[in-house]
């Protein structure tokens, strides 16, 4: 311990005691140093390998799927109806079904999700109710998708008697992706700086006008990005639809939201299951996967472009 520049207490006593002793020599063990440096360098490669592993797996996955789909993926495959003969089968019904499904999912999730986010960020007094809703949304996000299927089967399928229609599937899917939209919209709204709101109030606007004309337009790119990601999740999700009991083979093309339908992932599922009977179904499944991944790729690119181009920084 030091006081006024002089050593006092235990330290000074130690110093006096060891006044005649030599300073300890640092014994550098060169071999040990070498080992430590070698280990560090070696593990660096190990760590980078596991990061590259993801890249390799992605490459193999894409290669496997594209090579199986070669020769099967053409315009006729997109425009033909389902058929039990692999050469004639196409995914027109599944494509139309997926589009219909999104026609339900997009408005429902946007209205529900953005409203929830506006309530949580703008209107709630951040008290117990808001906290409860927040915790609830976090937990909802972690419920397995197959359980949403059971909910849809009971509530939409049986109680509301919608069966396995597009409406039942769309509503189930909307609830499944709702947390994604809520969280993304919340973040976007939170990023809107307070001075914009203050300026709006100062000009005499009331709360709703401020939210509608100032907060939402500024937060829109963020909300859109999150929504696109949520919708791309909904396009690829299979389990809830299978649980709803979408029939295996639908030869009719849906014409309204109360019709039975099939969607891209369902088609992949049934074709993959039936490869035991007809090996060519594997090619059809792979071709459908290429179409599905293509759609997802376009949507994700759109999300990235919106994020980079329209998001304002304050």
């Amino acid at each position: 311990m030091f006081k006024d520049g002089n050593l006092i207490g235990k330290d000074s006593r130690m110093l006096k005691k060891n006044a005649g002793a030599k300073l300890p020599k640092f014994n550098i063990n060169k071999k040990r140093m070498k080992n430590r440096i070698f280990l560090s360098r070696f593990s660096r490669h190990l760590f980078s390998l596991s990061a590259v592993f993801a890249l390799v797996v992605l490459g193999i996955l894409l290669f496997d799927i594209i090579s199986e789909s070669l020769g099967w993926l053409n315009v006729k495959f997109l425009t033909n109806n389902l058929s039990i003969f692999p050469e004639k089968a196409g995914i027109r019904g599944a494509l139309i079904g997926s589009v219909y499904l999104m026609l339900i999912v997009i408005p429902v999730t946007l209205v529900l999700g953005v409203s929830t986010a506006i309530y949580l960020e703008e209107y709630s007094n951040k008290g117990k109710i808001a906290n409860f809703i927040k915790v609830n949304i976090t937990n909802l996000a972690s419920v397995p998708s197959v359980i949403f299927g059971l909910l849809g089967l009971s509530v939409f399928g049986r109680i509301l008697n919608l069966g396995s229609s597009i409406l039942a599937g769309g509503l189930t899917m909307s609830l499944l992706v709702l947390p994604i939209v809520v969280v993304a919209s919340q973040e976007a709204i939170r990023a809107v700086p307070g001075f914009l709101r203050d300026a709006s109030y100062a000009l005499g606007a009331n709360k709703w006008t401020t939210v509608r004309k100032v907060v939402l337009p500024v937060a829109l790119p963020g909300i859109l990005t999150g929504s696109i990601l949520a919708i791309s999740r909904a396009i690829g999700e299979t389990a809830p639809l299978v649980v709803l009991g979408i029939p295996t083979l639908i030869l009719k093309i849906p014409t309204g939201i109360m019709d039975d339908f099939t969607a891209l992932p369902i088609q992949i599922y049934y074709w993959t299951l039936d490869t035991v009977l007809t090996p060519e179904y594997a090619n059809l499944a792979a071709a459908t996967i290429v179409v599905l991944l293509g759609v997802l790729f376009i949507m994700n690119s759109a999300a990235i472009i919106i994020r980079n181009k329209f998001q304002k920084k304050f």
Binding site: R44, S50, A51, Y123, L151, T209, V243, P265
Partner: protein, 307 residues
């Protein structure tokens, strides 16, 4: 002239009145919308419990904890143990793949990678995370299983090993990105301090960064477990539907999730015990994942090191 002003005044009054009424109505509207998400949770819990209770009333407890599951037999039996072991085995394999790889990738990204390689690797992880599970299921069945068969000849066409591995690959991005976030939150000073004392980069990673971010890493692992338990399509496609009570991963097993899928897409007539068993399994699955998620939240709250 006077009339004009009067009309304008009336219009203005009406406008502000309308504006003010919408301003008053909107908070209630938003609250109703927000509470719909709460209603969803209650809807899930209610639908599961109502039908699961009917199942538990019909089937004796002794049968539920038996190892025989044959719901479609003339004399059906509903032992849940085969589903539990199936879920457990596939989850264990997935975690065994995802945690080492995901953690090392996170260490690489946060400790070693140059900003350029991070710019390439992070989007690839995001792409892996965005691929629908049905695609992974197809990949497991059509590529990984045949590949594994060449190494392990006794492997069945449907088995627990291949979907377990692929599920692990699917979860790698989750573990990697959550752990990396936790590692990046460790202040730079601590790293530099350790480097200044003569530690190597590996020692900094293992003895400083990981202990400091352990809460985030643990909760990422727990969340990964929850994802693996709830994962449906990969196991349904690649692990089949044999209700074996076994720990042999080269055999076909059924998980809780794939039981639900198999049974609903088959012919589960409403009102039968088999139909109610879906909800019982769903309830157990729901409780499992809920508990695990609560544990994850607890870990990240309790063991967080604040700097």
């Amino acid at each position: 002239m006077n009339d004009k002003i009067k009309v304008r005044k009336i219009i203005n009054d009406n406008l502000t009145k309308k504006k003010n009424t919408t301003d008053k109505v909107m908070p209630t509207f938003f609250l109703v919308m927000a509470s719909l998400s709460v209603a969803t949770t209650f809807g899930i819990v209610l639908t599961l419990i109502v039908d699961a209770v009917k199942f538990f009333a019909e089937v004796p407890l002794k049968e539920i904890f038996s190892t025989e599951l044959a719901p479609l037999k003339a004399d059906p039996s509903f032992g849940i143990l085969p589903l539990i072991t199936g879920t457990l085995m596939t989850t264990l394999i997935a975690i065994a793949v995802a945690v080492p790889v995901g953690l090392s990738a996170a260490i690489y990204l946060s400790q070693y990678a140059s900003s350029r390689s991070r710019k390439i690797l992070k989007p690839i992880l995001e792409v892996l995370a965005g691929i629908p599970t049905i695609v992974y299921g197809f990949f497991a069945y059509s590529f990984v299983t045949p590949l594994l068969m060449q190494i392990i000849p006794s492997l069945e066409a449907k088995n627990a090993l291949s979907p377990g591995i692929v599920m692990g690959i699917m979860i790698i991005p989750l573990v990697a990105s959550l752990s990396e976030d936790a590692m990046n939150a460790v202040p730079e000073i601590m790293r530099e301090g350790a480097l200044g004392l003569g530690s190597t980069k590996l020692e900094v990673a293992l003895k400083v960064v990981i202990p400091a971010s352990i809460s985030g890493i643990l909760s990422s692992i727990v969340l990964a477990i929850s994802r693996a338990i709830g994962e449906t399509m990969i196991v349904t496609i690649a692990s089949g539907s044999s209700k074996n009570f076994t720990l042999d991963i080269t055999q076909s097993m059924q998980t809780m999730t794939s039981y639900i899928v198999e049974f609903t897409s088959g012919d589960a007539a409403s009102g039968t015990t088999g139909y109610y068993s879906l909800y019982a399994v769903g309830l157990i699955l729901f409780i499992f994942t809920m508990i695990i998620n609560l544990i994850a939240q607890h870990i990240s709250r309790k063991y967080r090191e604040e700097y």
